[in-house]
Protein backbone atom coordinates (compact mmCIF):
# COMPACT_ATOMS: atom_id res chain seq x y z
CA UNK A 1 0.00 0.00 0.00
CA UNK A 2 1.26 3.45 -0.84
CA UNK A 3 1.76 5.64 2.13
CA UNK A 4 3.12 8.97 3.18
CA UNK A 5 5.64 8.98 5.95
CA UNK A 6 6.45 12.38 7.31
CA UNK A 7 8.69 13.13 10.25
CA UNK A 8 9.71 16.74 10.89
CA UNK A 9 11.36 18.56 13.73
CA UNK A 10 11.73 22.28 13.52
CA UNK A 11 12.34 24.90 16.20
CA UNK A 12 11.69 28.60 15.65
CA UNK A 13 11.97 29.40 19.36
CA UNK A 14 8.38 30.45 19.95
CA UNK A 15 7.11 27.75 17.64
CA UNK A 16 8.14 24.13 17.47
CA UNK A 17 6.99 21.49 15.03
CA UNK A 18 7.54 17.90 16.03
CA UNK A 19 5.48 15.34 14.13
CA UNK A 20 5.92 11.78 12.98
CA UNK A 21 3.01 10.69 10.79
CA UNK A 22 2.13 7.78 8.59
CA UNK A 23 -0.72 8.73 6.30
CA UNK A 24 -2.64 6.73 3.72
CA UNK A 25 -1.71 7.00 0.09
CA UNK A 26 -5.29 7.55 -1.00
CA UNK A 27 -8.20 9.79 -0.14
CA UNK A 28 -8.24 13.17 1.53
CA UNK A 29 -6.25 13.56 4.69
CA UNK A 30 -7.24 16.70 6.52
CA UNK A 31 -4.67 18.44 8.70
CA UNK A 32 -6.90 20.16 11.20
CA UNK A 33 -5.96 22.67 13.87
CA UNK A 34 -6.28 26.23 15.03
CA UNK A 35 -3.97 28.96 13.77
CA UNK A 36 -0.51 28.40 15.16
CA UNK A 37 -1.07 24.66 15.46
CA UNK A 38 1.56 24.00 12.80
CA UNK A 39 -0.73 22.58 10.14
CA UNK A 40 0.41 24.95 7.40
CA UNK A 41 4.04 24.61 8.44
CA UNK A 42 3.69 20.85 8.16
CA UNK A 43 2.22 21.16 4.67
CA UNK A 44 4.96 23.57 3.62
CA UNK A 45 7.60 21.16 4.93
CA UNK A 46 6.05 18.42 2.84
CA UNK A 47 6.13 20.68 -0.20
CA UNK A 48 9.71 21.69 0.51
CA UNK A 49 8.70 25.35 0.73
CA UNK A 50 10.12 25.24 4.23
CA UNK A 51 13.02 23.11 5.27
CA UNK A 52 12.84 21.42 8.63
CA UNK A 53 16.40 20.85 9.86
CA UNK A 54 15.45 17.41 11.10
CA UNK A 55 13.15 15.49 8.88
CA UNK A 56 12.40 12.52 6.74
CA UNK A 57 9.73 12.46 4.10
CA UNK A 58 8.79 9.54 1.97
CA UNK A 59 5.98 9.69 -0.56
CA UNK A 60 4.98 6.49 -2.30
CA UNK A 61 8.41 5.00 -1.75
CA UNK A 62 10.31 8.05 -2.97
CA UNK A 63 12.46 9.92 -0.48
CA UNK A 64 11.92 13.68 -0.74
CA UNK A 65 13.87 14.60 2.35
CA UNK A 66 16.21 12.79 4.67
CA UNK A 67 18.18 15.07 6.91
CA UNK A 68 20.38 12.22 8.08
CA UNK A 69 21.61 11.72 4.56
CA UNK A 70 21.50 15.47 3.94
CA UNK A 71 19.01 14.88 1.18
CA UNK A 72 16.51 17.57 0.31
CA UNK A 73 14.62 17.66 -2.94
CA UNK A 74 13.85 21.28 -3.85
CA UNK A 75 10.18 22.07 -4.33
CA UNK A 76 10.39 22.38 -8.10
CA UNK A 77 11.68 18.82 -8.35
CA UNK A 78 8.88 17.32 -6.25
CA UNK A 79 6.01 15.86 -8.32
CA UNK A 80 3.31 17.60 -6.30
CA UNK A 81 0.44 19.96 -6.78
CA UNK A 82 -0.03 22.81 -4.34
CA UNK A 83 -3.07 25.01 -3.81
CA UNK A 84 -2.45 28.10 -1.74
CA UNK A 85 -4.82 29.86 0.60
CA UNK A 86 -4.88 32.85 -1.72
CA UNK A 87 -5.23 31.41 -5.19
CA UNK A 88 -1.82 32.87 -5.98
CA UNK A 89 -2.34 32.93 -9.73
CA UNK A 90 0.29 34.76 -11.76
CA UNK A 91 -1.31 38.16 -12.31
CA UNK A 92 0.56 38.75 -15.56
CA UNK A 93 -0.77 35.61 -17.23
CA UNK A 94 -4.21 34.65 -18.52
CA UNK A 95 -6.02 31.69 -17.04
CA UNK A 96 -4.81 29.61 -19.97
CA UNK A 97 -1.20 30.64 -19.47
CA UNK A 98 -1.48 30.04 -15.76
CA UNK A 99 -2.68 26.52 -16.49
CA UNK A 100 0.08 25.93 -19.01
CA UNK A 101 2.82 27.40 -16.83
CA UNK A 102 3.48 24.12 -15.08
CA UNK A 103 2.56 21.96 -18.07
CA UNK A 104 5.38 23.47 -20.10
CA UNK A 105 7.82 22.43 -17.43
CA UNK A 106 7.06 18.73 -17.06
CA UNK A 107 8.31 15.95 -19.23
CA UNK A 108 5.40 13.57 -19.42
CA UNK A 109 2.75 15.96 -20.63
CA UNK A 110 -0.74 14.72 -19.88
CA UNK A 111 -3.00 14.67 -22.87
CA UNK A 112 -5.36 17.44 -23.82
CA UNK A 113 -8.25 15.17 -22.89
CA UNK A 114 -7.07 14.95 -19.33
CA UNK A 115 -6.78 18.71 -19.04
CA UNK A 116 -10.21 19.06 -20.62
CA UNK A 117 -11.60 16.76 -17.95
CA UNK A 118 -10.04 18.81 -15.20
CA UNK A 119 -11.47 22.00 -16.67
CA UNK A 120 -14.82 20.31 -16.98
CA UNK A 121 -14.68 19.03 -13.44
CA UNK A 122 -13.88 22.48 -12.07
CA UNK A 123 -16.17 24.32 -14.43
CA UNK A 124 -13.64 26.87 -15.66
CA UNK A 125 -13.53 26.09 -19.37
CA UNK A 126 -15.15 29.40 -20.25
CA UNK A 127 -12.60 31.49 -18.33
CA UNK A 128 -9.49 30.56 -20.30
CA UNK A 129 -8.75 33.99 -21.83
CA UNK A 130 -9.45 36.03 -18.68
CA UNK A 131 -6.80 37.73 -16.61
CA UNK A 132 -6.82 36.66 -12.95
CA UNK A 133 -7.91 40.12 -11.76
CA UNK A 134 -11.14 39.67 -13.72
CA UNK A 135 -12.07 36.47 -11.85
CA UNK A 136 -14.16 36.11 -8.73
CA UNK A 137 -12.48 34.68 -5.64
CA UNK A 138 -14.13 31.32 -6.18
CA UNK A 139 -13.17 31.18 -9.84
CA UNK A 140 -9.61 32.06 -9.00
CA UNK A 141 -9.41 29.24 -6.50
CA UNK A 142 -10.86 26.77 -8.99
CA UNK A 143 -8.26 27.82 -11.57
CA UNK A 144 -5.58 27.38 -8.94
CA UNK A 145 -6.80 23.85 -8.23
CA UNK A 146 -6.88 23.05 -11.94
CA UNK A 147 -3.40 24.50 -12.34
CA UNK A 148 -2.10 22.17 -9.65
CA UNK A 149 -3.95 19.14 -11.00
CA UNK A 150 -2.91 19.74 -14.59
CA UNK A 151 0.56 18.53 -13.69
CA UNK A 152 -0.69 15.02 -12.86
CA UNK A 153 0.93 15.26 -9.44
CA UNK A 154 1.60 12.28 -7.24
CA UNK A 155 0.14 14.16 -4.30
CA UNK A 156 -2.05 17.23 -3.98
CA UNK A 157 -1.39 19.65 -1.15
CA UNK A 158 -4.08 22.20 -0.32
CA UNK A 159 -3.51 24.96 2.24
CA UNK A 160 -6.89 26.25 3.44
CA UNK A 161 -8.11 26.74 -0.11
CA UNK A 162 -11.46 28.07 1.10
CA UNK A 163 -10.32 30.19 4.02
CA UNK A 164 -10.16 33.43 2.06
CA UNK A 165 -13.60 33.00 0.54
CA UNK A 166 -16.92 34.14 1.93
CA UNK A 167 -19.66 31.67 2.80
CA UNK A 168 -21.30 31.82 -0.61
CA UNK A 169 -18.07 31.19 -2.47
CA UNK A 170 -17.25 28.33 -0.13
CA UNK A 171 -20.54 26.68 -0.98
CA UNK A 172 -19.66 27.22 -4.63
CA UNK A 173 -16.37 25.35 -4.35
CA UNK A 174 -17.14 22.57 -1.89
CA UNK A 175 -19.10 20.52 -4.42
CA UNK A 176 -16.13 20.67 -6.80
CA UNK A 177 -13.89 19.41 -4.04
CA UNK A 178 -16.30 16.59 -3.26
CA UNK A 179 -16.30 15.60 -6.92
CA UNK A 180 -12.53 15.72 -6.94
CA UNK A 181 -12.60 13.48 -3.95
CA UNK A 182 -14.49 10.85 -5.86
CA UNK A 183 -12.45 11.07 -9.04
CA UNK A 184 -8.90 11.57 -7.85
CA UNK A 185 -6.80 8.55 -7.14
CA UNK A 186 -3.90 10.46 -5.64
CA UNK A 187 -3.60 11.34 -1.96
CA UNK A 188 -4.69 14.83 -0.98
CA UNK A 189 -3.40 16.63 2.09
CA UNK A 190 -5.85 19.34 3.00
CA UNK A 191 -5.19 21.96 5.67
CA UNK A 192 -8.15 23.61 7.35
CA UNK A 193 -9.44 24.96 10.61
CA UNK A 194 -13.08 24.48 9.57
CA UNK A 195 -14.99 21.58 11.07
CA UNK A 196 -17.44 21.80 8.22
CA UNK A 197 -14.70 21.10 5.70
CA UNK A 198 -13.42 18.26 7.86
CA UNK A 199 -16.86 16.70 7.90
CA UNK A 200 -17.39 17.11 4.20
CA UNK A 201 -14.03 16.12 2.85
CA UNK A 202 -11.89 14.12 5.24
CA UNK A 203 -11.24 10.42 5.00
CA UNK A 204 -8.37 10.64 7.37
CA UNK A 205 -8.05 13.30 10.03
CA UNK A 206 -4.90 14.58 11.67
CA UNK A 207 -5.43 16.96 14.58
CA UNK A 208 -2.57 19.32 15.23
CA UNK A 209 -1.99 21.51 18.24
CA UNK A 210 1.12 23.39 19.34
CA UNK A 211 3.16 21.85 16.55
CA UNK A 212 2.31 18.29 17.53
CA UNK A 213 -0.12 15.75 16.14
CA UNK A 214 -2.66 15.03 18.86
CA UNK A 215 -4.38 12.34 16.89
CA UNK A 216 -4.33 10.80 13.49
CA UNK A 217 -6.51 8.16 11.92
CA UNK A 218 -9.71 7.46 10.01
CA UNK A 219 -12.14 10.34 10.26
CA UNK A 220 -14.75 8.97 12.66
CA UNK A 221 -12.03 7.35 14.77
CA UNK A 222 -10.24 10.60 15.24
CA UNK A 223 -13.41 12.63 15.59
CA UNK A 224 -14.54 10.43 18.46
CA UNK A 225 -11.30 10.40 20.39
CA UNK A 226 -11.81 11.59 23.91
CA UNK A 227 -8.26 12.87 24.34
CA UNK A 228 -8.65 15.62 21.78
CA UNK A 229 -10.69 18.77 22.39
CA UNK A 230 -12.85 18.15 19.35
CA UNK A 231 -14.98 15.59 21.26
CA UNK A 232 -15.94 18.17 23.88
CA UNK A 233 -17.01 20.72 21.32
CA UNK A 234 -20.69 21.73 21.20
CA UNK A 235 -20.60 20.83 17.50
CA UNK A 236 -18.87 17.49 18.11
CA UNK A 237 -19.96 14.93 15.54
CA UNK A 238 -18.93 11.77 13.75
CA UNK A 239 -19.16 11.31 10.03
CA UNK A 240 -20.04 7.92 8.60
CA UNK A 241 -19.46 6.75 5.10
CA UNK A 242 -22.66 5.16 3.88
CA UNK A 243 -24.27 3.87 0.70
CA UNK A 244 -27.84 4.26 -0.45
CA UNK A 245 -29.53 0.85 -0.43
CA UNK A 246 -33.22 1.58 -0.89
CA UNK A 247 -35.85 4.27 -0.93
CA UNK A 248 -39.10 3.96 1.06
CA UNK A 249 -41.18 6.30 -0.96
CA UNK A 250 -44.28 5.79 1.20
CA UNK A 251 -42.56 7.14 4.23
CA UNK A 252 -40.41 9.51 2.29
CA UNK A 253 -37.32 7.78 3.69
CA UNK A 254 -34.05 6.43 2.34
CA UNK A 255 -32.14 3.57 3.85
CA UNK A 256 -28.39 3.67 3.78
CA UNK A 257 -25.90 1.03 4.80
CA UNK A 258 -22.73 1.61 6.77
CA UNK A 259 -20.24 -0.78 8.32
CA UNK A 260 -22.26 -1.07 11.51
CA UNK A 261 -25.63 -1.68 9.90
CA UNK A 262 -28.16 0.55 8.27
CA UNK A 263 -29.89 3.87 8.95
CA UNK A 264 -33.13 5.45 7.90
CA UNK A 265 -32.77 8.97 6.64
CA UNK A 266 -35.22 11.49 5.32
CA UNK A 267 -35.53 10.90 1.57
CA UNK A 268 -32.29 11.58 -0.29
CA UNK A 269 -32.38 12.38 -3.96
CA UNK A 270 -29.74 9.84 -4.97
CA UNK A 271 -29.65 6.56 -6.79
CA UNK A 272 -29.17 3.27 -5.01
CA UNK A 273 -25.46 2.65 -4.62
CA UNK A 274 -24.57 6.31 -4.25
CA UNK A 275 -22.00 6.90 -1.53
CA UNK A 276 -23.04 9.40 1.11
CA UNK A 277 -21.40 11.08 4.06
CA UNK A 278 -23.73 11.07 7.04
CA UNK A 279 -22.97 13.38 9.90
CA UNK A 280 -24.26 12.55 13.37
CA UNK A 281 -23.96 15.22 16.01
CA UNK A 282 -23.02 13.90 19.46
CA UNK A 283 -25.89 15.89 20.97
CA UNK A 284 -28.34 13.94 18.77
CA UNK A 285 -27.28 10.59 20.19
CA UNK A 286 -28.89 9.14 23.32
CA UNK A 287 -28.12 5.89 25.13
CA UNK A 288 -30.38 3.14 26.49
CA UNK A 289 -29.30 0.09 28.47
CA UNK A 290 -31.87 -2.15 26.84
CA UNK A 291 -33.27 -2.26 23.37
CA UNK A 292 -36.10 0.26 23.50
CA UNK A 293 -39.24 -1.42 22.28
CA UNK A 294 -41.51 1.52 22.30
CA UNK A 295 -39.76 4.57 20.82
CA UNK A 296 -40.43 6.96 18.05
CA UNK A 297 -36.81 6.96 17.09
CA UNK A 298 -36.15 4.87 14.00
CA UNK A 299 -32.44 4.50 14.26
CA UNK A 300 -31.63 2.34 17.26
CA UNK A 301 -28.40 0.40 17.04
CA UNK A 302 -26.40 -1.84 19.35
CA UNK A 303 -23.08 -0.48 20.50
CA UNK A 304 -20.33 -0.90 23.06
CA UNK A 305 -19.05 1.87 25.31
CA UNK A 306 -15.36 2.31 24.72
CA UNK A 307 -14.75 5.50 26.59
CA UNK A 308 -16.29 8.04 28.96
CA UNK A 309 -15.05 11.52 29.65
CA UNK A 310 -16.26 14.73 31.26
CA UNK A 311 -17.75 17.16 28.84
CA UNK A 312 -18.55 20.85 29.19
CA UNK A 313 -20.83 21.96 32.03
CA UNK A 314 -23.36 19.25 32.81
CA UNK A 315 -22.22 17.01 29.98
CA UNK A 316 -20.55 13.66 29.76
CA UNK A 317 -18.98 12.52 26.50
CA UNK A 318 -19.43 8.87 25.68
CA UNK A 319 -17.46 7.11 23.00
CA UNK A 320 -19.10 4.10 21.42
CA UNK A 321 -18.40 1.49 18.80
CA UNK A 322 -20.89 -0.14 16.55
CA UNK A 323 -19.63 -3.61 15.68
CA UNK A 324 -18.97 -4.30 12.08
CA UNK A 325 -21.80 -6.33 10.61
CA UNK A 326 -20.79 -9.98 10.65
CA UNK A 327 -21.87 -10.45 7.10
CA UNK A 328 -19.47 -7.80 5.89
CA UNK A 329 -16.54 -9.01 7.90
CA UNK A 330 -14.32 -11.44 6.14
CA UNK A 331 -13.76 -14.45 8.37
CA UNK A 332 -10.40 -14.49 10.08
CA UNK A 333 -9.55 -10.93 9.14
CA UNK A 334 -7.60 -9.29 11.94
CA UNK A 335 -9.79 -6.94 13.91
CA UNK A 336 -7.54 -5.19 16.30
CA UNK A 337 -9.61 -3.31 18.76
CA UNK A 338 -8.39 0.23 19.01
CA UNK A 339 -8.03 1.96 22.32
CA UNK A 340 -7.83 5.44 20.94
CA UNK A 341 -6.82 7.16 24.12
CA UNK A 342 -3.78 4.95 24.33
CA UNK A 343 -2.88 4.44 20.72
CA UNK A 344 0.32 6.07 19.49
CA UNK A 345 -0.12 8.62 16.81
CA UNK A 346 2.50 6.99 14.65
CA UNK A 347 0.73 3.66 14.84
CA UNK A 348 -2.59 4.88 13.67
CA UNK A 349 -2.13 4.41 9.99
CA UNK A 350 -5.32 5.79 8.65
CA UNK A 351 -7.62 3.90 6.38
CA UNK A 352 -11.00 4.56 5.04
CA UNK A 353 -13.23 3.51 7.87
CA UNK A 354 -15.55 1.65 5.54
CA UNK A 355 -12.76 -0.80 4.84
CA UNK A 356 -11.63 -2.03 8.22
CA UNK A 357 -12.75 -1.84 11.82
CA UNK A 358 -15.87 -0.86 13.67
CA UNK A 359 -17.84 2.31 13.32
CA UNK A 360 -17.08 4.88 16.01
CA UNK A 361 -19.74 7.16 17.43
CA UNK A 362 -19.80 9.97 19.94
CA UNK A 363 -22.66 10.83 22.30
CA UNK A 364 -23.15 13.87 24.51
CA UNK A 365 -25.48 13.06 27.43
CA UNK A 366 -25.98 14.71 30.79
CA UNK A 367 -23.69 13.67 33.60
CA UNK A 368 -26.78 12.86 35.66
CA UNK A 369 -28.02 10.37 33.05
CA UNK A 370 -24.59 8.76 32.85
CA UNK A 371 -24.62 8.28 36.64
CA UNK A 372 -28.22 7.03 36.77
CA UNK A 373 -27.54 4.52 34.01
CA UNK A 374 -24.24 3.52 35.63
CA UNK A 375 -22.43 3.71 32.29
CA UNK A 376 -19.05 2.01 32.24
CA UNK A 377 -16.49 1.16 29.66
CA UNK A 378 -17.17 -2.15 28.05
CA UNK A 379 -20.95 -2.04 28.61
CA UNK A 380 -23.14 -3.15 25.76
CA UNK A 381 -25.83 -0.53 25.15
CA UNK A 382 -28.19 0.76 22.48
CA UNK A 383 -27.79 4.11 20.82
CA UNK A 384 -30.76 6.13 19.55
CA UNK A 385 -29.94 8.55 16.79
CA UNK A 386 -32.40 11.43 16.78
CA UNK A 387 -31.10 13.23 13.76
CA UNK A 388 -28.64 13.03 10.91
CA UNK A 389 -27.46 15.27 8.16
CA UNK A 390 -26.27 14.39 4.70
CA UNK A 391 -23.10 16.17 3.69
CA UNK A 392 -23.02 15.61 -0.03
Amino acid sequence: MTTIQARFQLDYGDFKLDVDLKLPGTGITVLFGHSGSGKTTLLRCIAGLQRAPQGKLEINGNIWQDSERNLFLPTHKRPLGYVFQEANLFPHLTVRDNLHYGLKRIKQNPGAVELEQTLELLGIGHLMERMPERLSGGERQRVAIARALALNPEILLMDEPLASLDFKRKQEILPFLSRLHQQLDIPVLYVTHSQQEVAQLADTLVILEGGQALASGPLSETQSRLDVPLAQDREAATVWQATVIEHEADYHLTRVAFVGGSLSLPMVDAQVGTPLRVQIYARDVSIALEAPTATSILNVLPATITGIADGRDSQTVVQLRLPRMAAETAPGSPRHFLHPWRSEVSQSVGNRCDQVGDQALLAHITRKSALLLGLQIGMAVYVQIKGTSILN
Binding site: T75, H76, Y82, F84, E86, N88, Y101, G102, R147, A148
Partner: protein, 228 residues
Protein backbone atom coordinates in the same frame (compact mmCIF):
# COMPACT_ATOMS: atom_id res chain seq x y z
CA UNK B 1 20.41 77.87 -31.77
CA UNK B 2 22.49 74.78 -31.11
CA UNK B 3 25.99 74.79 -32.53
CA UNK B 4 27.57 71.64 -33.99
CA UNK B 5 29.66 71.44 -30.80
CA UNK B 6 26.48 71.50 -28.73
CA UNK B 7 24.97 68.75 -30.86
CA UNK B 8 28.12 66.70 -30.37
CA UNK B 9 27.78 66.98 -26.62
CA UNK B 10 24.14 65.93 -26.83
CA UNK B 11 25.02 62.91 -28.92
CA UNK B 12 27.86 61.96 -26.63
CA UNK B 13 25.63 62.35 -23.59
CA UNK B 14 23.02 59.97 -24.95
CA UNK B 15 25.73 57.51 -25.87
CA UNK B 16 27.16 57.57 -22.36
CA UNK B 17 23.73 57.35 -20.77
CA UNK B 18 22.57 54.46 -22.98
CA UNK B 19 25.64 52.35 -22.37
CA UNK B 20 25.68 53.19 -18.67
CA UNK B 21 21.98 52.32 -18.32
CA UNK B 22 22.51 48.98 -20.01
CA UNK B 23 25.44 48.21 -17.72
CA UNK B 24 23.48 49.33 -14.67
CA UNK B 25 20.62 46.98 -15.53
CA UNK B 26 23.02 44.10 -16.05
CA UNK B 27 24.79 44.77 -12.76
CA UNK B 28 21.88 46.18 -10.82
CA UNK B 29 19.38 43.39 -11.48
CA UNK B 30 21.27 40.58 -9.75
CA UNK B 31 22.44 43.02 -7.09
CA UNK B 32 18.92 44.23 -6.36
CA UNK B 33 17.61 40.67 -6.37
CA UNK B 34 20.30 39.57 -3.96
CA UNK B 35 19.61 42.55 -1.71
CA UNK B 36 15.89 41.74 -1.74
CA UNK B 37 16.32 38.07 -0.93
CA UNK B 38 19.36 37.82 1.31
CA UNK B 39 19.45 37.61 5.07
CA UNK B 40 23.21 38.05 4.99
CA UNK B 41 24.89 40.37 7.45
CA UNK B 42 26.45 42.07 4.43
CA UNK B 43 23.08 43.29 3.22
CA UNK B 44 23.15 46.49 5.24
CA UNK B 45 26.70 47.31 4.25
CA UNK B 46 26.14 46.68 0.55
CA UNK B 47 22.89 48.64 0.66
CA UNK B 48 24.69 51.58 2.24
CA UNK B 49 27.54 51.45 -0.27
CA UNK B 50 25.13 51.38 -3.21
CA UNK B 51 23.25 54.36 -1.76
CA UNK B 52 26.38 56.40 -1.01
CA UNK B 53 26.32 58.33 -4.29
CA UNK B 54 22.95 59.72 -3.17
CA UNK B 55 24.63 61.38 -0.21
CA UNK B 56 28.10 62.21 -1.46
CA UNK B 57 28.44 65.49 -3.34
CA UNK B 58 29.14 64.45 -6.95
CA UNK B 59 32.41 66.37 -7.08
CA UNK B 60 33.57 64.52 -3.96
CA UNK B 61 32.67 61.19 -5.52
CA UNK B 62 34.37 62.34 -8.70
CA UNK B 63 37.48 63.31 -6.80
CA UNK B 64 37.73 59.90 -5.14
CA UNK B 65 37.17 58.16 -8.44
CA UNK B 66 39.91 60.33 -9.92
CA UNK B 67 42.24 59.23 -7.14
CA UNK B 68 41.20 55.56 -7.28
CA UNK B 69 41.34 55.31 -11.05
CA UNK B 70 44.55 57.34 -11.28
CA UNK B 71 47.98 55.74 -11.73
CA UNK B 72 48.51 55.56 -7.96
CA UNK B 73 45.00 54.32 -7.13
CA UNK B 74 43.89 50.72 -6.70
CA UNK B 75 41.64 50.70 -9.77
CA UNK B 76 44.25 52.53 -11.80
CA UNK B 77 46.93 50.01 -10.90
CA UNK B 78 44.58 47.20 -11.83
CA UNK B 79 43.63 48.67 -15.21
CA UNK B 80 47.28 49.43 -15.93
CA UNK B 81 48.12 45.83 -15.08
CA UNK B 82 45.37 44.76 -17.48
CA UNK B 83 47.12 46.80 -20.13
CA UNK B 84 44.28 49.26 -20.77
CA UNK B 85 45.94 52.19 -19.02
CA UNK B 86 44.16 54.50 -16.62
CA UNK B 87 40.49 55.36 -16.99
CA UNK B 88 40.11 59.09 -16.27
CA UNK B 89 39.62 61.29 -19.33
CA UNK B 90 38.48 58.30 -21.40
CA UNK B 91 35.03 57.34 -22.62
CA UNK B 92 35.01 54.00 -20.75
CA UNK B 93 36.12 55.81 -17.61
CA UNK B 94 33.23 58.21 -17.99
CA UNK B 95 30.80 55.33 -18.43
CA UNK B 96 32.13 53.52 -15.37
CA UNK B 97 31.94 56.67 -13.25
CA UNK B 98 28.37 57.22 -14.46
CA UNK B 99 27.45 53.65 -13.56
CA UNK B 100 28.75 54.06 -10.02
CA UNK B 101 27.07 57.42 -9.66
CA UNK B 102 23.65 56.46 -10.99
CA UNK B 103 23.52 52.87 -9.74
CA UNK B 104 21.25 53.63 -6.74
CA UNK B 105 18.69 55.04 -9.16
CA UNK B 106 18.54 51.64 -10.82
CA UNK B 107 19.00 49.36 -7.84
CA UNK B 108 16.47 51.02 -5.57
CA UNK B 109 13.41 50.93 -7.85
CA UNK B 110 14.29 47.35 -8.75
CA UNK B 111 14.63 46.43 -5.11
CA UNK B 112 11.29 48.07 -4.33
CA UNK B 113 9.46 46.25 -7.09
CA UNK B 114 11.16 42.94 -6.30
CA UNK B 115 10.11 43.08 -2.70
CA UNK B 116 6.59 44.15 -3.71
CA UNK B 117 6.29 40.87 -5.59
CA UNK B 118 6.64 39.01 -2.33
CA UNK B 119 7.15 35.36 -1.62
CA UNK B 120 3.90 34.01 -3.01
CA UNK B 121 4.41 34.00 -6.79
CA UNK B 122 7.85 32.52 -6.27
CA UNK B 123 6.43 29.70 -4.20
CA UNK B 124 3.66 29.14 -6.72
CA UNK B 125 6.26 28.87 -9.48
CA UNK B 126 8.30 26.41 -7.45
CA UNK B 127 5.27 24.18 -6.97
CA UNK B 128 4.78 24.34 -10.74
CA UNK B 129 8.24 22.88 -11.40
CA UNK B 130 10.04 26.15 -12.17
CA UNK B 131 13.63 26.33 -10.95
CA UNK B 132 14.71 29.55 -9.21
CA UNK B 133 16.38 30.92 -12.35
CA UNK B 134 13.38 29.95 -14.46
CA UNK B 135 11.13 31.64 -11.89
CA UNK B 136 13.20 34.80 -12.06
CA UNK B 137 12.74 35.18 -15.80
CA UNK B 138 9.19 33.83 -16.12
CA UNK B 139 7.65 35.46 -13.04
CA UNK B 140 9.87 38.05 -11.39
CA UNK B 141 10.91 39.96 -14.50
CA UNK B 142 7.39 40.32 -15.94
CA UNK B 143 5.95 41.26 -12.55
CA UNK B 144 8.73 43.77 -11.93
CA UNK B 145 8.23 45.42 -15.31
CA UNK B 146 7.24 48.77 -13.79
CA UNK B 147 10.36 48.58 -11.64
CA UNK B 148 12.55 47.92 -14.67
CA UNK B 149 10.89 50.78 -16.51
CA UNK B 150 11.42 53.17 -13.62
CA UNK B 151 14.98 51.97 -13.09
CA UNK B 152 15.96 52.36 -16.74
CA UNK B 153 14.46 55.79 -17.10
CA UNK B 154 15.75 57.14 -13.81
CA UNK B 155 19.19 55.67 -14.46
CA UNK B 156 19.26 57.14 -17.95
CA UNK B 157 17.91 60.54 -16.96
CA UNK B 158 20.20 60.78 -13.98
CA UNK B 159 23.23 59.97 -16.11
CA UNK B 160 22.21 62.59 -18.63
CA UNK B 161 21.94 65.18 -15.89
CA UNK B 162 25.11 64.28 -14.02
CA UNK B 163 27.69 67.00 -13.84
CA UNK B 164 30.04 66.90 -10.89
CA UNK B 165 31.39 63.44 -11.52
CA UNK B 166 31.94 63.85 -15.24
CA UNK B 167 33.56 67.18 -14.62
CA UNK B 168 36.12 65.50 -12.39
CA UNK B 169 36.66 62.24 -14.21
CA UNK B 170 36.01 63.34 -17.77
CA UNK B 171 38.39 66.23 -18.19
CA UNK B 172 35.98 68.08 -20.46
CA UNK B 173 37.44 66.74 -23.71
CA UNK B 174 35.37 67.63 -26.79
CA UNK B 175 33.77 64.57 -28.46
CA UNK B 176 35.24 62.25 -25.84
CA UNK B 177 34.02 63.29 -22.42
CA UNK B 178 32.35 66.67 -22.82
CA UNK B 179 28.74 65.92 -22.06
CA UNK B 180 25.83 68.29 -22.31
CA UNK B 181 25.70 69.32 -18.66
CA UNK B 182 29.36 70.36 -18.78
CA UNK B 183 28.75 72.19 -22.02
CA UNK B 184 25.91 74.17 -20.49
CA UNK B 185 28.12 75.04 -17.58
CA UNK B 186 30.87 76.14 -19.93
CA UNK B 187 28.45 78.40 -21.74
CA UNK B 188 27.33 79.95 -18.47
CA UNK B 189 30.86 80.45 -17.25
CA UNK B 190 31.85 82.00 -20.56
CA UNK B 191 28.85 84.36 -20.26
CA UNK B 192 27.32 82.77 -23.38
CA UNK B 193 23.93 82.79 -21.75
CA UNK B 194 21.99 82.47 -24.97
CA UNK B 195 23.73 79.26 -25.97
CA UNK B 196 23.33 77.98 -22.46
CA UNK B 197 19.59 78.65 -22.55
CA UNK B 198 19.18 76.75 -25.78
CA UNK B 199 21.04 73.70 -24.61
CA UNK B 200 19.41 73.76 -21.19
CA UNK B 201 16.04 74.06 -22.90
CA UNK B 202 16.70 70.94 -24.95
CA UNK B 203 17.80 69.07 -21.83
CA UNK B 204 14.78 70.26 -19.89
CA UNK B 205 12.41 69.25 -22.66
CA UNK B 206 14.06 65.87 -22.88
CA UNK B 207 13.88 65.23 -19.14
CA UNK B 208 10.28 66.34 -18.98
CA UNK B 209 9.28 64.07 -21.86
CA UNK B 210 11.08 61.12 -20.32
CA UNK B 211 9.39 61.59 -16.97
CA UNK B 212 6.04 62.15 -18.63
CA UNK B 213 6.39 58.91 -20.57
CA UNK B 214 7.45 57.13 -17.40
CA UNK B 215 4.51 58.25 -15.35
CA UNK B 216 2.01 57.66 -18.14
CA UNK B 217 3.38 54.18 -18.71
CA UNK B 218 3.33 53.34 -15.01
CA UNK B 219 -0.20 54.56 -14.61
CA UNK B 220 -1.53 52.50 -17.48
CA UNK B 221 0.47 49.41 -16.62
CA UNK B 222 -1.94 46.56 -15.88
CA UNK B 223 0.14 45.12 -13.05
CA UNK B 224 0.69 48.17 -10.93
CA UNK B 225 0.46 46.12 -7.79
CA UNK B 226 1.80 42.62 -8.34
CA UNK B 227 -0.59 40.59 -6.23
CA UNK B 228 -4.08 41.33 -5.23
Amino acid sequence: MLSPADLDTLLLTFKVASIATLLMLVLGTPLAWWLTRTHSAWKGIINAVVALPLVLPPTVLGFYLLVLMGPAGAIGKFTTWLGVGTLPFTFPGLVIASVLYSLPFVVQPLQASFSAIGEQPLEAAATLRASPLDTFFSVVVPLAKPGFLTASILGFAHTVGEFGVVLMVGGNIPDKTRVVSVQIYNHVEALEYNEAHWLAGVLLLFSFSVLLVLYTALKSHPVAHPLK
